[in-house]
Structure formats: structure tokens, C-alpha cells
Homo-oligomer: 338 residues x 4
């Protein structure tokens, strides 16, 4: 199998290295407009074949095109690749609009091609363990989901901090609760320095009795990457800044004896043992590459398909409408007028 | 000086102990309807004089009445005390509505009596140090304020988690930025167990280029009490769960060279040294009692006056309207239709 | 039952409070030479009867004498109490020499009186949990025991930092491994400021294949109270500075396939899940008082008897000989020449 | 300048990469007996020239030979390189005995060749900052030095845990106190699994009023890498497991008013602010390579010369004699009989 990669910036070398490391991949092509990047990649990966012309690459006998360019170009490059009969791997977020995402999904289905959206975190040992814990019923029904991803980070010139950071956490939420429907979204924040928000808070209402919140910030002096998942049986904390003990499961909960008469005596708290399971350490990107190649071979959708990418894009899109209107509630799945 | 305390529940003994410890206080009265509480207090504070009838206590030669009853009774007891010519100390939150707060403030002014709202945190060494750092200009203009106060806590039967936990953080925000006007408020959350929200997120928009957010939760498996204050010169973290090093000041910031052309090359990050100042360890409540007695003696408002209490109540009141309408933006200082 | 306490310094009020709180204790006497301390105790415990003359107190109808005076007076006061037919509670360390300890143990046995040595930590939820884990076989055989207890603390004028801080950790070690015989002791350290060492390291050799080490320091800028217990099945960490999760059990270990040919390939490491059990929060001193009263009623030795106190004193005594000779190995149970 | 590296195991690729990255190095040779290692290195560094015969490499026009083989072969390979007129870079520990180290130092001096001992930690930003703080006088005189380096690690088949882990910490101690003379050494520990100790404690006595201790352990369930440096002005903590804030300086100390009468009232503790300076993040090995090349060009000893390596080896050698005799005190600089 041959793989072509367009966009050899920050993430490009990781894609090359991981595809090259897969036993079924015998050749990797790279494509970028910048001579500097091409030279740098050549020095690190002498066996890769590099081109400047994307059309040229699409003519090669490649099965997968991986798109690691700015988000507003994803649709164009993805459509060209699908039109050329290639399976596509697209960096997060999938597309700039849900309409683009839908169009790509439909096109791929018509041509029986597969779409992989690179929600890399899904392939980490920590998220796989979280999913296992939810699937096994140990956590119970999820009552709330809370995520914080803040640090002193690189401002993006084309999108705000939600589009930059929240896709990671939204994809994890969606992976843990694939069947829960998002009803509405509200986003608040501030753009202290230029047009795009550097601090933002995103609230997500579900159709059932669950609520999620995402705090993202490019201008925090401390780096925090922490998630709480409050189940009605147990509660879970995922702290990605820990070197060890990234996942902690608390045998904690609240029980209310009677809904009629709420007062202290009837609320019972339970705080028991804590358990921190061992986490697999295999590099997530390598597992992602393997999953996509398996999905293609087995003619099925990968774990992070275009449809999963669309769910994330729908929330991002709604958040944008909301934050520009100071938290106006944007319902999903229902057309709204701005 | 004599002090009378109504409400001898959880916080009452602390009030008795701290007022008794003040050199100008020679007698403390206590008042509660519960015989059990009165007996318990008698065993611990044999010198306190205890009564069941509040009217009886108001007839005593006391200067200060401290009100530590449920919030919906604050107004009634406070008005009676002011009418009897007593200065009042009121537990947080000051009142159940801004109208009640305004009425008490006006009444006290007419009678030249003082109101102390027990925003205890203001008198901690940590918050005093934060205020010093802001006043000295070391932090610069505050760009954002972020607070998290979550744990597995006691549900309140009469109010939601915002009314229970956020007054601490709102009073600190107001103390650090006394001159900044709050423009509007939006609150989101979920009530997983009964009528009142157990998870909530409160966004506060200011009239200037500043934004604040408050995350409160009674159903978190971990206890977090952390504040970020993002200044344009330095940034500050207050972590109240630390035994030492509660305050950390980061010489961190962002500079944008040009507002016209935003791209990576023009954004500069600065991350320099961190400094953790020594914090005074005197019990906050004892400093609060001293402040109130000084304010009375000097015929001035205390640091945490009725007006400060009102500012917090206005935000709480708006948050209630907002959260019941999924984050509807509620403007302050402007009458809105629900 | 009536209890008399001699020595009303730092720890005295805790003894009074906890004995008073025990349902079988109907009267507490206190004895101290200082009028200041007597007045302070009177104000806090109006029901206690206070005396300046120890002989006077011994004439009262008391069952237990608790001795909370400097260690070099323990023997004298303890012997007087036993001679008067009282059970004795002695603060740690039990005595200044092993000969004193032996004499008290023998005297108590002759008179069928009980000795309780106040190794308070034994009665904490954390140490009880550790003992359970060892007793159940979950940890396996203990291979090493490592303890660190350092902070910026109060210098003692009569003893060095080992005598001051290590009794806590030595008593825990002895409680976890009651049947292991200590073979020899070596201590190193430095006295930077005056005659007594402020930094010290104590190595303890056992007769079997186990080794223990204790690091104590009065001049550390940070406070650490941490213990490692390395079993051949699991390993345990007790971090007393944690508010929650004080005990962590690691499913970690080392297996060596062959003792003949040691090289990397034959050493296998196992690092699995971590588990942090819930810890009981009852005040240790109150459980200690209850244990002693039960032991007296049941005519048995308490969990922390004179014999346990003697084991700790033997190590302290040996450490003193060793540290003054730069770590000279001092064998226990065997007469040595200095 | 050309560089030859012998020993292409775990550390070899790092040496190749860093020497290749130096602007003055135009060619790197590698030498190893294993075809597997040679093939692996070839795939990662196509431009390196690889050989199996060390004599062959010594005939090349190389200036520096870097020796990354097991410690008991250091002397042989180093002597051959010096005899061939090459400067030598030797991995830590420098040699297996102090006699070997002395012979190499003398030989290099005769031939005006330079020796670099790869005490890599010396070139980290953290250790450079520590040295600056000591040199500036901010810390004052060092009273004690305490180091802990423990984890669940790779057993070495040829040496115990002191020889494996302590060289890092001993080199840092020596770098911070280059003029303090070590007087004597004592080591304790246990070999739970085979001949070599897996837990060890090393005490170092200085000729002046300073003391150092090193705790190393291959069988700890938690990873700790922490150093305390107790100065008489300030105290310093270096925690290498922190991602940020690796160095913390505490304005803490002890003052004793009078040496005659020591009692509590005369001991004063000071605990003021804490300061955590920014640490340079440049890769230590690259700075080490640059330092060696500069030292050669400037005909001077590098910061980590053979003499520095010898000081570390002397302590390791003494520790071995001591630990096999349960902590027997071994004096340095004085011939002792075993």
C-alpha cells in the first residue's frame, strides 16, 4: 500500500514516520509548496518521494491521501482525492463547515471510499480505557462531562481557541457517549488580543439528562488537561499532565432518597476507594494508522470516521454562532436564523 | 462591646469563638430555636448567654447582631436588628434579592449603622496578597478571571450550587476589581438529582475588555479550588488546596505586534520566573471581626460592606434567571423582561 | 474511671480532650508546675481538676496516669505511678534507655498493671490499613522499608532529630513487621547548629533479607512525610501530606528467573494497576484512649504496649551510639563495647 | 573535526545525533561488535561510517573518540585512544577504579590531550542554574546535600544501584561544591534479588561542617528524582520529575542566637517567599559536545574533565568497600586496609 501526505508542517513528519512504520505500507509520498519543508523532510526521511504538485501526487498509485493542511483547505483537497479514487485521512477538525463534511461523506459512500478523521486522542491508551469503563457499565449513566485544556499556547491566525483545542475533547466526549444526542450549544469567551477568542467556555446540552462543558484557553500561565466524567455509579478523572496514573476511577456518588422532600438528611454521599488502571503506552498515531488500514482492508468505517468528524464540526460550527452572540443558545439538528 | 449571634448552626461556633477572642468584646449572646444547638454551644462556651427569643436578644445592650441563618431569613432578621439600632454582620450571600439588599443598605445609611457582609475569604492572607499584587500594578490590567470550586459536597435544599459556592469567588473577583462594571451574566448547568443545579458554569461579561468564569459543582469526585487571574503584565494562580505556595505569580504574557496582520510570527509568548510569596496565616474570621469593630469605631464602611454584598447578590440573581433559561444573557443595571 | 495527666504542654490538651470524650471516663485530673499552663487549661477545660503536686494526684482514686513530660523524666514519673498501683500511658519515646524500659515492664507485670506507649500513628486509619494489607498477604514479604519525615521544625534542646521524629516511623515499622528481629543499626548525620544532629539517616538491618532506612531532618525547606514498603508481591506508598489518597498500593514487582546468570534478559518488571483504599478518619488519639481502656478492662496488653515501646527505644539507643561514631554498626541483642 | 564513537547501545544514537548536529563536526564514525546495532544505526544515520574493528577506527583522522561501552572496558578503550593521540569522551562513571582514572589523567596530560567525562546532568539548565545560585552567594554555605533517585528500573548485571544511579548525583554535588573535600564515605543497602544491591544509601562526610546523602533504588514503585540543598542563607529543591518549576529556592533558614544555651526560645526559624527561576531547555548533551569541542580548541579542561570523573569514582570505589562491610566508614585520601 502507498500513502501520500499533503501538508508537511508540524504534524506531517509524524504522519510520515507512522505510515512508514506500518508493515503494509511500502512507499510514502509527501507534498508541500515550501522548498524549506521539502528539504527538511528529505533529510529526515530519505526514502520518501517528495513533490510540489498535488495533482501529480494524485496520479500516483496511492491508496490513501492524508491531508494535514489548514482546515479551510480540507474540503478542496479531500474532494480532489475522493474524485481520484483515494481513501482519505483528514486532520482534525474534519472540515470548516458541516455542509462540507456532509458532502464528503456522501461522495465517499457513493465511491465506496473510506474517510478517517484524525481524532488522535481516541487511539491513546487512556481514552481506550475510559471507553472500556463506560462500555462495561462500571461508570453507569454519564451525568456530566467536564473538560479543561488550557496553557500558554500558539495562537492560530485563522480560528479561535475553540476550533483549535476543543476538537480533541469533543471527539473524546462523542467517543464515550456515541448514542447521546446533542440538543444545543452555547459558547462564551473573550478575544483579548485580536479577532479570535483566546479564552472560551463551551456548554453542551444533551437531549437526555446530561450536560458537558469545555474550557479552552491559549493564555493560561499553567498547563491543565483534565477531564471529569460523572457517572451515576462511579466517577472518573483523566489528567493527561500526569506521567503515571492518568486515569483515576472514584467509587463516589450521590443518592437521593426521595424527590418530593429534598433536605440534607435525604442526600447521601458515597466516597470509597480509588483505582488507577494501567494504561497502554503504544503511540496513538501508529494505532490510528493501523486502524485505518484495517478498515480499508475490511471495507468498514474506521473508529473515527467522517460521520464522527461531522458530529464534532456541527458543535464547533454552532459554537461560533453562539460566541459571536454572547452565548446565544444554538440548537443542533434544527435550522436556525442568525 | 457586646455581640449577639442568631443562628448557631455550622458557622455559629466560629462566630462566637472569634468575637469572644476580640479584646473589645466583653460579652457574647447566642440565639437559636433548637435546644440541642443551645446545649451544645453552652458546653463549649460556658460564658456565652443563650436565648431562644430573638426579640429578647435585640433588647439587650448589644452593638452588633450577627446573622447566620438561612439566606431567605437574612432580610427579616437584619431589618429587625437595624430597626433596633444595631450594626449588622450578615453571612454570605447577603440577601435573597438585590431589592432586599438595597433596602437594608438604605435603612442602615439613614440610621448611620454599619453593615458587614461575611465574605470571609477577603480576609485570608492569600486574597489580601492578591489584592496587593493587583493594586501595585504588578499584574497589570486583568484580562480574564477564572475560578473553579468543586467537590463532593453538601447539597443545599433551598438554593442551587451557584448560590451556595460562587459567592466566595464572586466576592474575591469584586474585591480584586472593585471599579470594573459587570455588564451581563449567563449561566448554564444541570440539575441531575432534584430542582436545584448541582453543576453550574457562570460567565460574567464586563463593560471593559475583561471576562470572568466560575465553575461550581457539588458532585465532583475531586476537590479543586483554583483561580487564575490573567493580567496583561503577569498572571496569577491561587490554589487553595495547596498547604504551602497557595499563590503563584508567573512572569508570563502574550504580546501581539500588530493588530492588522495576525499570524504566528507576530505573536510573542513570554514565560519567565515564577514567584510564590509568603502568605499570612492569621484566621480570616478573626481579622473580619476586627475589621468590623474598627469600621464601627471609625464610622466607616468595612472592607466587605452591604454594597459589596449587593454586587454579589445582583450577579447571583441574574444567574438564576439565566440558568433557568439555558444561559439567556441577563444584563445588569438594565431592566430586562423574562 | 478517672485519669490523671502529668505535663500539660503542647500535647496535654489533646490528652485531656480525648480522655474526657471517652464514655467510661468521668473525671480528668491535670498536673503541671507552670501556673500559666494551669490557667490556660482551666479556661479550656473548666471541669478538669488541676494540681501542682504530682504526689497529690497519685493519691486520688485514678486508674490511669498519663505521662506527657520530657523523655528523661518518663522513668521517674512512670515508676511512681506504677508503685501507686496506677496503669500508665507514656508519651513517645517510652524511656531514655532500654534499661529503664525493661525495669518498668517488669514492675508492671509484677503488679499486673498495663503500660500504653503513645505511638499515636498506630491508631490512624492509614496505618491500620497498611497493617491489614500486610496481614492479608497482599503485599507479600517485605523486602525494604523506607521512611522520610522532614520539615522546618522545632529543634529540641535535649535530644537530636532521630529521638524527636523517628519514633513515629520506627513504631510503624515495628507494627507492620512485629516478628522480624532487628540485627543491627547504623546512623549518620550532621549537627550544623549545636550538639544535636538536625539531619540524620538511620539504617536498620534485619536478621532476615530485609532492610529499613529512616531520613529525618529539622532543617528542610519542604515538608515530606512519605513511606515506601517494598513487598515481593506488591508495593505500598504512604504519603501523609496528601489530603486524600494517603495510601497507594502498586501492583509492581521484580522477578528474577535464575540466580545463577544475572543479566537484563532474566529480570522482569511488572507495573500494573494502582489502588488507593478509603481510609478511616477517626482521630487516632481517641482510638488510642479507647484501646487502652479496653485493654485494662480485658486484662491484656494494648496494641502499643511497653514491650513495643522498648523495641523502639533499643533502636534509638543504638542509633545514638552509632551517630556519635560516624555510623559505627551497633548490633542489637548482643552486648557491644563502645 | 571528525568524531568516532565506540559502543552503539542505548546511549550511542544520542551521541551520534548530537555530534552530527555540531557545526564543527563534519564526519562521525561508529564502532560496535553487533551487526544488529550497526544495521539499526545505519538506517537512522545513513551518513555515519560504521566499523566493527576499533583499531581500524583509531587509524582514521578523528580528533575525538567517545567511549560508550560497559564501565569495565572504559580504561582499555580510553588508553588505546589516548595512545593514538585522540581526545577522549567517556561515559559515566569514568572508570572502574580510581587507579585507572589517575593513569588516564596522567597519560592525557603528558600528551596534551583532553578528557571529557559525560556527567550529562551538569549541562542541564537546572544544574547550571543551581551552580549560578551557589556561586552568587544567594544560597550561602551549603550545610547539607540530599538526593533521592529511585524508580522501578533496569537492573545492571555488572554493578550495583550506586554505581548505576549515583554518579549523576555525585557529579552534581561535586559541581556545586568543587572545593569541598570529601573526608569519608559510608554505604548501606540490601541485595534482595542477586549479588548487587538494589536499594542503597550513601553518606558522605566532608572535611568541613557539611554532610551529603544519596538514596538510590531500582525497586521503587514510584519515580522520585529530588535534591535538597540546605544553605545557611537559602534552601533549594530540585525536582526533576516536575515538567515546569524544576528548581525552587526557599527563603528559609534557622538562626541560633547562642551556642552556650540551646533551648527553644533561642532558635529562630525563617520561612519567607519561594522563587522558581526559568530554566534553559537546550538539550544537555548538545551543550556537552559543544563544551568539549570548545575546550579542545582553547586547550583547556572541559567543565567535566577526567579530574571530575576521578572524584566521583573515588566515592563509588569507597562506597563499594563500605557497603560490603555494612557501612564501614571508608576514609578518602588515606590508604585503608580492607
Amino acid at each position: 500500500m502507498k500513502v501520500g501526505i499533503i501538508g508537511l508542517g508540524y504534524w506531517g513528519p509524524n504522519l510520515i514516520r507512522n505510515f512508514m512504520g506500518h508493515p503494509e505500507v511500502d512507499k510514502v509520498y509527501g507534498c508541500d509548496l515550501s522548498d524549506d519543508r521539502l528539504n527538511f523532510i528529505k533529510s529526515r526521511f530519505p526514502s520518501a518521494e517528495l513533490l510540489k504538485d498535488y495533482n501529480e501526487m494524485l496520479k500516483k498509485d496511492i491508496s490513501i491521501v492524508a491531508i494535514a493542511t489548514p482546515v479551510d483547505t480540507h474540503f478542496k483537497f479531500a474532494k480532489m482525492a475522493l474524485d481520484s479514487g483515494k481513501h482519505i485521512w483528514v486532520e482534525k477538525p474534519f472540515t470548516a463547515t458541516s455542509q462540507e463534511a456532509t458532502e464528503l461523506i456522501n461522495l465517499a459512500e457513493q465511491k465506496n471510499l473510506k474517510i478517517f478523521v484524525d481524532h488522535t486522542f481516541i487511539y491513546t491508551g487512556a481514552v481506550q480505557k475510559m471507553r472500556d469503563l463506560v462500555d462495561s457499565g462500571e461508570i453507569g449513566d454519564i451525568k456530566y462531562f467536564d473538560s479543561v485544556r488550557i496553557n500558554l499556547g500558539l495562537f492560530q491566525h485563522d480560528v479561535n481557541v475553540i476550533w483549535d483545542l476543543a476538537p480533541h475533547d469533543l471527539s473524546i466526549m462523542h467517543y464515550l457517549m456515541p448514542h447521546e444526542k446533542v440538543a444545543a450549544v452555547s459558547a462564551h469567551g473573550i478575544a483579548n488580543y485580536y479577532d479570535h477568542e483566546n479564552v472560551a467556555h463551551l456548554s453542551v446540552y444533551f437531549e437526555n439528562n446530561c450536560f458537558a462543558h469545555f474550557h479552552v484557553n491559549w493564555t493560561s500561565p499553567v498547563k491543565i488537561r483534565k477531564m471529569l466524567v460523572g457517572g451515576d455509579k462511579k466517577m472518573l478523572v483523566f489528567d493527561d499532565m500526569e506521567n503515571f496514573e492518568k486515569i483515576k476511577i472514584y467509587d463516589a456518588g450521590v443518592e437521593i432518597s426521595s424527590k418530593e422532600k429534598i433536605h440534607e438528611a435525604l442526600v447521601q454521599y458515597r466516597m470509597g476507594d480509588m483505582h488507577s488502571p494501567k494504561i497502554q503506552a503504544t503511540e496513538a498515531l501508529s494505532l490510528g494508522a493501523a486502524e485505518f488500514i484495517n478498515a480499508i482492508n475490511e471495507n468498514r468505517d474506521p473508529k473515527t470516521s467522517g460521520k464522527d468528524g461531522l458530529e464534532v464540526v456541527k458543535i464547533l460550527e454552532a459554537s461560533e454562532k453562539s460566541i459571536k452572540n454572547k452565548g446565544k443558545l444554538i440548537e443542533l439538528n434544527t435550522p436556525e436564523l442568525v
